[in-house]
Symmetry: C2
Subunit: 650 residues, 2 copies
């Protein structure tokens, strides 16, 4: 039923910009996170992740568990996400030592699995009677989902079955409870839905498709479910309100939902599973719901950086057009989940918008989540930082001006690692006769339809993307919406085609050299008047990169008023600046009298040049001001005059 | 020691704008609130205030208290604030029925007083053993403070002593505990400090001065005090954190404090007591602390509307320059408290800034708190309302787009009523030989120094203020900072004087007719670049009135860009518009394409005229958009060119 599918992780070998990030993950993130799992990282909070699995194994064998369980109820998922990231790293570059570390952890996990397939250290060490009594908060299905994803990745990367067998047995245990015994319930934190579909595709076991469908079909059919569940038990993890169905997208059946609500990560994980199931089964009602939810996010609730979830209160979506830059939550994991969602939507419908959003989220919020040295991470990605307020005022304690050390709740760092390691699955796709290029990722790809390609590009800093394609079929390449023009050559000759839903299709017989030159002219971007917080302001983009203005380059950023009538200067790529990047310069006015709190005196200003850097590089030079959305000094802009229409891309 | 003092409430008879508001309080607010106290208002939540006093009396007599205590721990203060407002109303206009209602309530209060003078229905009905065990949350001293204020007002207005005797006995009971028995402690919610000074001045009883000084001197000397208190008891009202000293201004001794912190109402009530004590005793260290706190509020933490307290989290101050317009808390009571503080600062130092802020808070936030019909009230006074977000998004549930019905926690409505009833105390002051005019309030004043004046003005809509003065001495009139020029005539002749600390002084022998014409040219006002949320925006003021743009006059307000280079039009006073007001019109551009969430297309706009109304009248025409701070379409403004200097006022 799928229009096109993701490629196996082994099919893409990264180079260029992506290759550099994969190497950073391999060299910095994975080893550091391994030391965290084993509580050997000197500057991180205790995680106890490996120790929890050791103790769960002991508990099953009736041995003394010594220091018991420690951490969040979903602590196991850190091990799973690390294994998934390690698997992708092994797929890209074999590493005996890393594989040994992974196998060692897998042995512990296998030993912590109960004989019926149940797998969760919290409920195995602490109180086996509490199993399955708290779907609202217990995260058992969430942790199982991540372990299933890790198992699929590790099998895909290494061919080793041990974790896949553990995960399958665990999934059968869940199947037994919810299908065979027909116990009512669905996950408080969606995640297992998308994982079960991966497991189904890899194993062919129809149980896993059936279980996924059950969780998705039953969700929200009874808004009192969590409250009834809460009444039946005498314990709680956090005292969560079981009636807050919006928070966990369970207020009505998923096919009736239209507005993205609640915890943003839960939302996009759920929608990912829904979109995946829709493409797997050809369920058009389910796809329509996905499309409504996608539209609601992308056209009403998304930051220009591809960030989602406007508020720290529940790490959640709020209402349409509520997009405060300074108090944004915009969790790194939520943008990763948005990429997941976009990727699965592409399996239902080839449409350039999904790739547009995928690369927007990736190059901006996801990459901003990680420090350039791979050692520190943002969970929260504000679009404005005001030292003295950000991270300080009680309303801004979540918007830290610099990336903090590894948290005890380590959801984002390993999520960034596994996303970067598997980026080929989002950049490329395939159908029986077509190789799809959704994002512009340098490296080589071998499609199972026989097509191969070598992509050469310095994207996102250079706008030339070359494909050396071999095989027979079609090359389908997304033309980004931001590119106001596009020059295409095929084997050196000009090529012209009106894009179809954002893609051009080029027939390949045996071999073809294809080149795209996108329009890298910086663009001033404005928000709809419906967004109260962004009224009258401008952002600056070049290609997929959102730029920001930092104090390190500009002194006070709040004093600047950008001249939208000027044409920004694109500086040369500087390999020594912020890990290698391209700076933009724009004409501006600097307000020179900022004294009194309120003044009716005429504002004094002096012309100046303001420098902008990619948002994904912000916060790497210590605490300073940062703004994506800037005030302007001239609204009669003459820039951006060329048509945005892509009807005549040549 | 006082430089100048407030006048008795009976000394000022209001006319004009103030008179109209006093009549509204008399006709609408006081009767309605009386029905609330007695649970006879059909559309209000149950208050049980009178019933609590009845039941407390029964409890003391050993009778069955039937329905016991109901309401907040500080429910008694509603009765006190109503009595105070009723007293001021009686001072302005005798009313037998109202006086009978007041006397009836006073009888209940007297009957609810324990034989040792203790007076609090919560602790008398519910559990006498809990008395004085929870200064952190119990509000006993707060309720006593309000009752003392009511007693002073009722005695001042009617000459009746019964409530004054009750309050004095209650104050002696408190004196006995904290001074005679030397029990350590200070109020969790400051208020009694300023009340004790009123009582001291009226009775001459030095105990009350001593007790006030004790509470102020001891406050913050031991940051562990509330925590120790909490350890000694086994009950709580709200589970408040006893270590959050910033919230209740008790982290360090008051003379060492420099930053306004915590709950804004508590803060300004405390600072009012401090300033009052400083002027009473000539305590220069205490005054210096007041001046630092004043400066911190007025120059770093105050909205342009005279609103204070930026966040709903604790109804509190946050950090310097954190002044979000859309999520502002800006409680009506806090601006009333700011006026109290300003009034007491004037007793230490005659300085125009205090009057500037006093009238800013009064004409904007305080009056905005009340619907034009006197029937509904805002507690929260945002500077921006965006329907769909305001009152709806989880971060904006407190910023209601229209005034709600009377709350169970009815702090603001009676506070507005008592402030308006006693506005003469803030508008006018006196010293041995001088009549001070701090605000421009139509009506007649008889000063105890023998001077009398009749003030005739249609202020704040007309900028001409006439004084007919009789007696011998000086007339001191504040020249508002916003008035860029001022024409003064004395007995028809031009008068010129360089203002001294914002005041001009005119000698009066026998009789004088003095006229001031202030500059009512509308002014565009900008905020300091240090305020992140107000960067590049403009507000519009005329005289003391901040204007706002509402949907009712403009359609979508977010589409408008104000042309700061234009000169606003001052419309004629319209007696039928918003209770009688003056509208302003300004040139603007209207953005006509607000479609996509983000767009790089050039903005389309069309010239238009935008209408602004006084902020104090907003929200009287149903739910609609409202903005004080507007975006601009031309920053090269030429308005406001005239000097703001008042060195040469003529």
């Amino acid at each position: 039923m799928k229009i096109q599918t993701q490629i196996p992780v082994t099919a893409y070998k990264a180079a260029g910009f992506i290759g550099k990030y994969q190497q950073l993950v391999r060299d910095a993130v994975i080893p550091y996170q391994h030391s965290v799992l084993w509580d050997k990282a000197p500057d991180a909070e205790k995680s106890h992740v490996a120790a929890n699995f050791i103790n769960a194994g002991k508990a099953l064998r009736g041995e003394d568990t010594a220091d018991g369980f420690y951490g969040m109820v979903f602590q196991d998922s850190d091990a799973a996400k690390w294994l998934e990231a390690a698997a992708y790293s092994l797929a890209a570059k074999p590493d005996d030592a890393l594989e040994k570390q992974a196998d060692e952890l897998i042995d512990l996990i296998a030993a912590a699995q109960d004989k019926d397939g149940y797998l969760n250290t919290y409920f195995t060490i602490k109180d086996t009677d509490k199993r399955w009594t708290n779907l609202l908060e217990g995260h058992e299905l969430y942790c199982s989902g991540h372990m299933i994803e890790a198992a699929c990745a590790y099998y895909e990367a290494t061919g080793k079955r041990k974790l896949l067998d553990v995960a399958s047995k665990n999934a059968e245990c869940i199947y037994d409870r919810f299908i065979t015994q027909n116990v009512k319930g669905w996950p408080g934190h969606p995640e297992i839905e998308l994982a079960l579909l991966k497991l189904y595709r890899l194993t062919g076991n129809e149980h896993f498709l059936e279980l996924c469908r059950r969780f998705i079909d039953e969700r929200g059919t009874d808004p009192s479910f969590y409250a009834q569940e809460a009444e039946r038990r005498n314990w709680t993890v956090w005292g969560s309100n079981p009636w807050d169905n919006d928070y966990r997208q369970s207020g009505k059946p998923v096919r009736e939902q239209s507005a993205a609500t609640g915890h943003a990560v839960r939302a996009v994980y759920l929608y990912t599973g829904m979109a995946d199931l829709a493409s797997e089964t050809g369920d058009s009602k389910l796809f329509e719901a996905c499309r409504r939810l996608w539209d609601n996010i992308v056209h009403n609730k998304m930051y220009i950086t591809g960030g989602i979830g406007s508020t720290v209160m529940g790490e959640a979506f709020t209402v349409d057009y509520d997009l405060p830059p300074d108090t944004a939550y915009s969790e790194t994991c939520a943008s990763i989940g948005l990429m997941f969602f976009a990727g699965r939507m592409l399996e239902n419908e080839v449409n350039g918008e999904y790739g547009d959003i995928m690369e927007l989220a990736f190059y901006n919020t996801v990459l901003a989540g990680m420090q350039l040295d791979g050692k520190r991470f943002f969970y929260v990605n504000p679009l404005e930082v005001d030292p003295g307020i950000s991270g300080t005022a009680c309303t801004h304690t979540h918007t830290l001006p610099v990336r903090p050390k590894w948290y005890a709740c380590a959801c984002c760092p390993p999520n960034v690692a596994r996303l970067i390691g598997s980026i080929g699955k989002y950049a490329y796709g395939e159908s029986a006769d077509t190789a799809y290029c959704h994002m512009f990722a340098a490296g080589s790809v071998s499609f199972s339809n026989g097509l191969k390609l070598e992509c050469t590009t310095d994207y996102p800093y250079d706008m030339t993307v070359k494909y050396a394609v071999s095989g027979n079929g079609r090359l389908a390449v997304r033309i980004p919406k931001w590119s106001k023009s596009c020059t295409i050559t095929v084997n050196g000759s000009a090529f012209s085609q009106t894009p179809e839903n954002g893609y051009v299709y080029i027939n390949v017989e045996n071999k073809a050299d294809v080149q795209f030159i996108f329009d890298g002219t910086p663009l001033f971007v404005r928000a709809s008047c419906r967004v109260p917080r962004l009224v009258g302001m401008t952002a600056l983009m070049r290609g997929p990169l959102v730029y920001c203005f930092e104090g390190a380059d500009n002194g006070s950023v709040r004093d600047l008023r950008i001249d939208r009538s000027s044409v920004p200067t694109v500086c040369d790529f500087d390999p020594d600046f912020l890990g290698g990047t391209v700076k933009l310069k724009v004409k501006a006015q600097r307000i020179t009298d900022c004294g009194e709190l309120y003044s009716s005196e005429q504002e004094q200003s002096t012309p100046c040049e303001a420098a902008a850097v990619p948002y994904c590089t912000w916060g790497n030079r210590g605490e300073n001001e940062m703004r994506v959305w800037m005030n302007v000094c001239n609204t009669k802009e003459t820039l951006n005059k060329s048509s945005n229409s892509l009807q005549n891309v040549v």
